[in-house]
Amino acid sequence: MDLPQGTLDLLIMQVVALGPVHGYAIAQRLQQVSRDVVQVPQGSLYPALHRLENRGLLAADWKETETGREAKFYRLTRKGRMQLEAETESWRRLAEAVGLVLKMSAGGAE
């Protein structure tokens, strides 16, 4: 499924909000949680991550994973958290509104 504009950013932030996490884990999590509905080429995750980092919504540190390898871990900044809340809220409202409209037209067809 193709993602609407800006949705990838929102999803990434949502995943990162759960705690520091590296890029590969984000990709895995996205796939699992969305039950494989959201399928982006994993590579395109990185430009999005870097853009968010550049905008100051994410911060990153190099840390060791459980397997003892060095990886770049992303976490949400204060600014990112505020942005996430605002976007989640507006997304939810949009989804509700779209759902209402769809239900209405479905009712009309019956």
């Binding site: 590296h22 890029g23 590969y24 990709a27 080429p41 994993q42 590579g43 395109s44 990185y46 430009p47 999005a48 870097h50 853009r51 550049n54 190099w62 390898r69 060095e70 990886a71 770049k72």
Partner: protein, 879 residues
Amino acid sequence: MNWWHRLMRKEQMDEQLEKELRFHLEQHTADLTARGMNPEEARRQARLAFGGPERVKEQCRDARGTRWLEDLWQDFRYALRTLKQRPGFAAVALLTLGLGIGATTVMFTVINGVVLKPLPYAKPDRLVTVHGHTEKYGEQWGFSYLEFLDCQRQSRSLRPMAAWTYSGATLSEPGEAEYVDGRQISSELFSVLGISLPQGRAFLAEEDRPGALPVIILSYGLWQRRYARSPAIIGKPIVFDGKPYTVVGIAPAGFRLDTDADVFTPLGQSTRPQMQNRGARFIHVVARLQPAVTVIQADTELSLIARRMAEQYPKFNEGRGLVAHPLQQEIVGDVRPTLWLLLGAVGLVLLIACVNVASLLLVRAVTRERELAMRVALGAGRGRLVRQCLTESAVLGLSGGLLGVLLAAIGIRPFVVFWPGSLPRAEEVQVDWHVVLFALAASLASGLLFGLAPALRAPARELEQTLRSGARTVMGNSRRMHSGFVIAEIALAVVLLVSAGMLGQTIVRLSSLDPGIDTHNVVTTRIALSPTNLATAGQMRAAWQDILDRARRVPGVQSAALTDIIPMRVGENSLGYWATPDPPPQDQVPLALASCVTPDYLKVMGIPLRSGRFINEQDRIGRDLVVVIDDNLAQHAFGGNQAVGKRLWIPGMSPSPVQVVGVVGHVRHWGLAADDQSRVRDQIYYSFAQVPDPLLRFFSSIMSMAVRSNIPPLNAVEPLRRELRGAAGDQALYDVHNMEQLVSDSLARQRFLLLLFGIFAALALVLACIGIYGVLAYLTSQRVPEFGVRMALGANAGDVMRLVMRQSVGMIFVGVIVGLGGAWAAGRVLTRLVEGMQSSQPATFAIMIPVLVVAALFASFVPARRASRVDPVRALRQE
């Protein structure tokens, strides 16, 4: 981390990116292997899921936000590299641009120094000069001293107000006697200008009165030269004009009112008889606008004052108004239009240079079409390619600009030195940051101008086709653009060539004008009488007679005469006159230029006598006052009737009418070119021997001697100088001029313009020819296969040549037509700005256009001939 850090740590960031992506792939592979996939297959799957790593990296770099800078740097290095690869192209382009920008920068440097820079006074924009004006004669700078005092007392909006006038005399003791130029100034002058003296003080108000203690201010230059900058000179006496003065101050270095002067004395102390004459207007007035007063408000008040004066002194001030002008405008004067004209001309040359470089770049862009298409195929965006092309042209432009600034820095001094006459504010003309900024803007603008055309065609249209076919088949569009370039170049060259032709024709016409005098072997010089001879009128008359007698005894001297004004030199004495007993209204009084001369003047200057006689030895004080008039005055006053024996009323000379005893030819006093347009063209001669005694002192300070010799005139100067030194050895000659030189100098401005326009036009011609050659050579080389086909089908060499020439003739024709329109407009501008210039004449076009057409055809002949020698077999094989 700001963008600067990100940029500077590019290497490190790239390394981290690499590491991050590698981690992802390896982790994924490891996970898959853990699920039982074989390692080879796992690696493949992981890569597949990830997508193209290079593209991801590109996008990540984009996300950093410093991309444009990195690209710029990359493009910059790339541009340098490509320029280095083609040193021929780079050299031609850089030289063309450097010349164009350099010439433009030189002109701007002059304009910046002369016109744009504020004057070196406090709040210079509040300074004005005040002029008188009448309906008949327009504006005149002069005030009489009494008018100045009235104006100064009455004005509320212009204060302080100051006055100054010319003077000059011999400076002696301590030190050797020398003649120095001086200015008589009112005590307010320095405070009006808002400058303070480095040593001593300005004049006090009570020193600016008749009979006050004589005080003097020295110029910085004189102080340095004569007194070695010793502060001890303040308070010491020096002898100036035979009188002891006390030095009270030193003027700041570089201080000048119009031209350099060495001493300043209080105007109010002057004992000249004109000081009390309301009709004698020899005073310059400068004033400072009161805060919040505009020039227009000041003008309103001035016209009120003028009206009051007209009521009070109708004889002198009827119909005479007063106006104020910004001082800067006054000082810069009439060089302003000349400067802008030259900047315009030089701008055209720069435009041609830009067009030339643009067509060179376009040629390169077309041959690089495949390279660019390749880049698009590899993922470069349209914007990216345009940016790259523009960076290249900006690099070219800026390097050209750098070369230009260098050329300007070297060229500016010679330019100022060669400026005819003295360039006002020449000392302010120098390369400063305004100039550098201008050059920078000019180079970037030119870079954009010549880079845009190739850049806009860079993005790959029909990418595939380009890649498949190479450059050859995408020619149509660029051929049209190339023709456009050639047409533009030819049109611009036509404008410059015709302008230069018009100037040349003007000079030829003006030089052939009869100045009205025989200038051959005539030298003029001013003489400062020995102060010991200045005591009485009798002494002065004797001293002048002695000078003439001595001069005639010098070997080689044929005749010698005295005069107060010399033709072609600055200096005037205009007197109102009328020919009937009833005076015309004050503002309608015709003016004549009056020269005070001795009898031999006619012989020395070789002025033709038309009727009657010239001034002779009998016209001396005590006899009836007589005048000799010129053709013009005779025509104006007596309408072609016999003028000799008639009477003229000249109140500035005598209250009763004077007798006309002769008519002589008109002399082009104001210069060969300027005389026709001058306001005062009638001329009167009167006898120096009839100057009344009280005025003799003043006349003695302004008289010049003119000498005709039968040897080269400048060879007579040294013997004259020795012979005339006088008993006390303190009688000095100065301001020596060769009359022939003066006449030719009167056209210096036109000649200078011609020289520059000639250079510009030649440059334009050469650049245009290079452009035509380049474009045609390129276009024909692209058409070689076509020619091959044509020749294979039976066309001969002549046919091919005709084909190429037809194309070039078409471009030349259109260019000339467009250029003619431009030349016509340029001609109108020139006619307005250059004295003696006549509007475009067919002859100018008839000479200049063929020059251009022949040059252009010659430039296209070479490529055409090359095309005609194409070997059809080889040409076809090339396809």
